[in-house]
């Protein structure tokens, strides 16, 4: 009894030739083969089949009913408890099925079609005849109706069950802006976007990824704005995935990103529907994955990680000031400890006299070289942060108190570290929290240590070398074919208004150019607010 869950073949491109198949080794990552075989005419045989295949799982509900004028036809209604809306099943499937008056002397087949056409009061209804299809429908929350003597099954869409409701996103907060966030339900998530962009050009394509998990993955884009090449590229990359499970969007992200060996994220992820909508309108592609509130957006540019959602809701001057602050903050979180090390071990002449004396006074009793001191403090802080993130919330507070005491006071009083170092570590920490995107803040965290090593070996020279290397690396990155550093490198003047600055909204004339995009005009001309023309006002004034 080897059936095949062959659906994956529909979405998979032909296997590439260089792939070598090792005989005797299952490469597809699937759990158990279910070969293609049609349904058996006998109801009991079919039920038995379902039972055996699912290992008699207790959440599979098999309700036997008698239908027809005299109840002469035996039938079974099968669904997975918890995945379906039970009210729905009983009100719109079971009730009509049991109480309907069938025309007399209907054969089994006629009854089957009668049920499909006239009885089932659900949104979507379809016939299925293959086992793999039946199981897929069943596991996705549909209800299967089987009838004696009919080698066909009816699948009624009764998806339901409990999901987390739409709540305020936890990872990206905004003072001003919508409060809804994505949930674990793919359908809810796509609806949140549809509600924002009421346009038939908002296209959605769905596929299943994961041999075992059969996870729904949807890609969304706005036809006409998006660059078709990028859509094609996204689809190709998704189609290439051959993995047993997709439990979070991170799985997909890591399988489709351009460059694995970089600390910088080349795909953006967000919990906020307004961000996704804005990105779709800029011509990007969103990838939704069932079971996670994090939606992927590709291609993601470097500067995008500094654009907080509120930049676009607040007025431009404030937004620009905050942008500058964020870039500054990113640099601080990158180089602050490195500068401290370089300054105190190589370039004492560059520190103002009184400050260097003050630092020297603090370091007088510290037994370690500046680099070791900085390393110990940074590592301690990373440990604290990691502990704080993983711990249950009530204990997390205790950790932060202990941490504050240990790093802040005890270490200084014991003379292990200087208070200047504590200040540097705290500024670095606060700076890395102030970076709007966690994804880029974490890469700065990693690079910081490399820069600290360089600073300890070569001083400022080393820091500059490190930053240059980082800049070169950043410029070499691509995200779905788009240069990662655009519009800064390559320099695109018309897009520069949304990088370090944020120009007034009426000046956002063009969408970001992502490879040969044609539809770049975002808004009409002369949107700049004008004071009312006094002459016209006189004419139109009714009073």
């Amino acid at each position: 009894m080897l059936f095949q869950w062959a659906l994956r073949k529909k979405h998979r491109q032909k296997p590439e030739k260089r792939e070598t198949v090792v005989p005797g080794r299952d490469q597809s990552g699937k759990a158990q083969d279910i070969s293609q075989e049609p349904l058996h005419p006998q109801l009991e045989a079919n039920i038995d089949m379902i039972r055996r295949t699912t290992g008699n799982s207790t959440d599979i509900v098999i309700r036997r009913v008698m239908v027809g004028q005299e109840g002469q036809h035996r039938a079974a209604v099968i669904f997975v408890d918890g995945l379906v809306d039970e009210m729905h099943v009983s009100r719109f499937l079971l009730e009509p099925l049991l109480e309907a008056s069938f025309p007399p002397s209907f054969s089994a087949k006629e009854t089957f079609f009668y049920i499909e056409k006239n009885l089932a009061a659900v949104g979507s209804m379809k016939q299925v005849s293959q086992w793999f299809e039946i199981f897929l429908e069943l596991m996705s929350g549909s209800t299967i109706i089987l009838l004696e003597d009919v080698p066909l099954a009816l699948s009624a869409s009764t998806k339901g069950g409990d999901y987390r409701s739409v709540e305020e996103p936890q990872s990206q907060l905004a003072i001003r802006g919508p409060r809804d966030g994505f949930t674990e339900s793919l359908r809810t998530n796509t609806a949140l976007i549809r509600r924002r962009i009421k346009n038939p050009n908002l296209w959605l394509e769905t596929m299943r990824i994961g041999e075992v998990t059969q996870t729904d993955v949807a890609i969304m884009y706005i036809k006409g704005i998006v660059n078709d090449k990028i859509v094609k590229e996204v689809k190709t990359r998704l189609g290439r995935i051959k993995i047993d499970s997709v439990l979070e969007s991170g799985y997909v992200e890591q399988l489709i990103e351009d460059q694995t060996f970089t600390t910088f994220p080349t795909i953006y992820h967000t919990e906020r529907p307004d961000i996704v909508a804005a990105n779709l309108l800029e011509g990007r592609v969103a990838i939704f994955i069932e079971g996670t509130p994090f939606v992927l957006v590709a291609p993601a540019l470097f500067i995008q990680f500094f654009q907080a959602v509120e930049d676009y809701y607040a007025r431009f001057d404030i937004a620009t000031a905050l942008r500058f602050l964020r870039v500054l903050v990113f640099f601080i979180s990158l180089v602050a400890p490195a500068i401290y090390i370089a300054g105190t071990t190589f370039h004492q002449e560059m520190i103002p006299t009184l400050l260097v004396i003050s630092i020297a006074a603090q370091r007088e009793a510290v037994p370690f070289p500046a680099f070791v001191e900085a390393l110990v403090m940074e590592v301690t802080f990373e440990i604290l942060r990691e502990a704080g993130v993983r711990l249950p919330r009530p204990i997390g507070q205790a950790v932060s108190i202990v941490g504050a005491l240990v790093i802040g006071q005890a270490a200084v009083e014991a003379g292990f570290v200087s208070s200047a170092m504590v200040i540097v570590v705290s500024i670095t920490a606060i700076a890395s929290f102030a970076t709007p995107s966690f994804a880029i803040a974490i890469s700065a965290r990693l690079i910081r240590f490399a820069l600290m090593f360089l600073a300890a070996m070569f001083g400022f020279y080393g820091i500059i070398m490190g930053i240059l290397a980082m800049a070169i690396h950043l410029c070499s990155l691509r995200t779905f074919g788009v240069p990662y550093m655009s519009p800064l490198a390559p320099f695109i003047p018309s897009n520069i208004g949304d990088t370090l600055f944020r120009v007034p909204t009426w000046a956002f004339k063009e969408r970001p150019r992502l490879i040969n995009q044609k539809n770049i005009s975002r808004q009409g001309e002369n949107l700049r607010p004008q004071p009312p023309d006094p002459a016209r006002q006189d004419e139109g004034d009714p009073s």
Binding site: L354, V356, A360, A361, Q362, E364, M457
Partner: protein, 402 residues
């Protein structure tokens, strides 16, 4: 293949790890020399005095490992045939490396200055650590060593005390000049200007001044006090000017920012105080029949600070008369300074430079004879335009009716 890559990576790591850090110096291995004093022994050897900061004892430093109980500075003295030798010899007495990047003050002993300072500035300019923005001051009546030994109250590091005093005194009183090493070198090298620097005097005894008790009393036993201006002929200290003549020098050099001028009124000496708040001096050289002359044009603007005499400041005539008196006073100060300099044949004003800038061709002929021949006989005309901007918050003095 993999092994080869590993070896290459390892070699690269060795390259960076082993060659890196060569210039590394920890803060705790450095002795921050905040001031250098230079004297000369009778045998002609240099005596250098290093005022080194003792970081643990500087106020403001956290009280870890010792506490701020000791003295904030420490003095190391070393002798040598040249300054470099002396500085290296000092390492015998010191547990740390002498670090000159934060040396902000050079004190030159009077005896040394009289012999000539030309040579000693070379090492300061040449060193890659030393900054030529360090201030220069001449120890008056004392050796540089003695000056640097004194502990000062408010600014714990006495070098900082001297530097700040130099800065603020020039800005608010204008009888001392804030000169740095670079400026000294420039003036020594220049053919049309002589250097000038401030002197610092020590009031009280060195013996008491170098003890911590000096800063534990409200009136220190020994104090540092800026006084006269040292006039140099080329690189040799020749004479001192003090008081109003010293301010006259600064008027000509356009260094006055604010100062106070006291004027006579109705026969009463030192009656009205005039607070200069803004001033500008222009030195214009003229050349007639090969004979140079200089006109100095001073424009001053200020307020009445004090007027305990019967005067009605609402009366324009009286104010004009007052302005006249002010102009007269300033002119007197300037002429006094010029006279003194001409007597000594020291062109600290840079009149020669001014002539050179305006008449470069003729200057070549005068250059060699400038200080001996032309400068002492140079006709100098001074015009002062003083202006009373405000009279303070009162018109008539309260003593003399309303």
């Amino acid at each position: 293949m993999k092994g080869k890559i590993c070896i290459v990576v390892l070699l690269l790591l060795c390259l960076t790890m082993l060659s890196g850090c060569w210039s590394k110096k920890e803060l705790t291995d450095l002795a921050f020399v905040i001031a250098v004093g230079i004297d000369k022994t009778k045998e002609g050897q240099y005596v250098t005095t290093y005022q080194v900061v003792n970081p643990g004892n500087v106020a403001g430093a956290k009280q870890i490992g010792g506490g701020a109980s000791g003295v904030p500075i420490s003095i190391f003295i070393s002798t040598g045939d040249n300054l470099f030798e002396a500085s290296r010899k000092a390492s015998k007495k010191m547990s740390r490396l002498l670090y000159f990047a934060h040396t902000n003050l050079v004190v030159i002993g009077e005896g040394m200055a009289r012999e000539g300072i030309g040579g000693l500035l070379d090492v300061l300019e040449r060193s890659n650590q030393f900054r030529t923005t360090a201030k220069v001051i001449i120890a008056h009546h004392h050796s540089a060593e003695e000056v640097l030994k004194v502990l000062t109250p408010i600014d714990k590091i006495s070098a900082n005390q001297i530097i700040k005093t130099l800065e603020f005194s020039e800005r608010t009183w204008g009888q001392t000049i804030n000169t740095d090493v670079w400026k000294m070198i420039h003036d020594i090298a220049s053919s049309g200007k002589h250097p000038v620097a401030s002197g610092v005097d020590l009031i009280g005894s060195v013996e008491k001044g170098q003890r911590l008790t000096n800063v534990q009393v409200s009136e220190p036993d020994a104090r540092l006090n800026l006084d006269d201006l040292a006039l140099f002929k080329d690189d040799k200290l020749v004479s001192w000017v003090s008081g109003e003549a010293a301010r006259g020098v600064l008027w000509v050099l356009d260094k006055i920012k604010q100062t106070g001028v006291t004027i006579e009124w109705n026969g009463k000496k030192e009656a009205v105080g005039y607070k200069v708040i803004r001033t500008k001096t222009e030195v214009v050289p003229h050349l007639k029949h090969g004979k140079p002359s200089i006109s100095i044009d001073i424009r001053a603007e200020g307020d009445i600070a004090e007027a305990p005499v019967p005067i009605d400041l609402a009366d324009v005539k009286q104010v004009f008369a007052l302005e006249k008196m002010i102009q007269h006073n300033i002119k007197k100060e300037v002429l006094e300074a010029v006279k003194k300099a001409q007597q000594e044949k020291i062109d600290v004003f840079g009149f020669g430079d001014a002539v050179y800038r305006s008449y470069p061709e003729e200057w070549k002929k005068m250059e060699n004879k400038w200080h001996e021949h032309f400068f002492p006989q140079l006709p100098v005309t001074v015009t002062v335009d003083a202006f009373i901007r405000r009279t303070g918050l009162r018109n008539k003095p309260y003593q003399f009716g309303r």
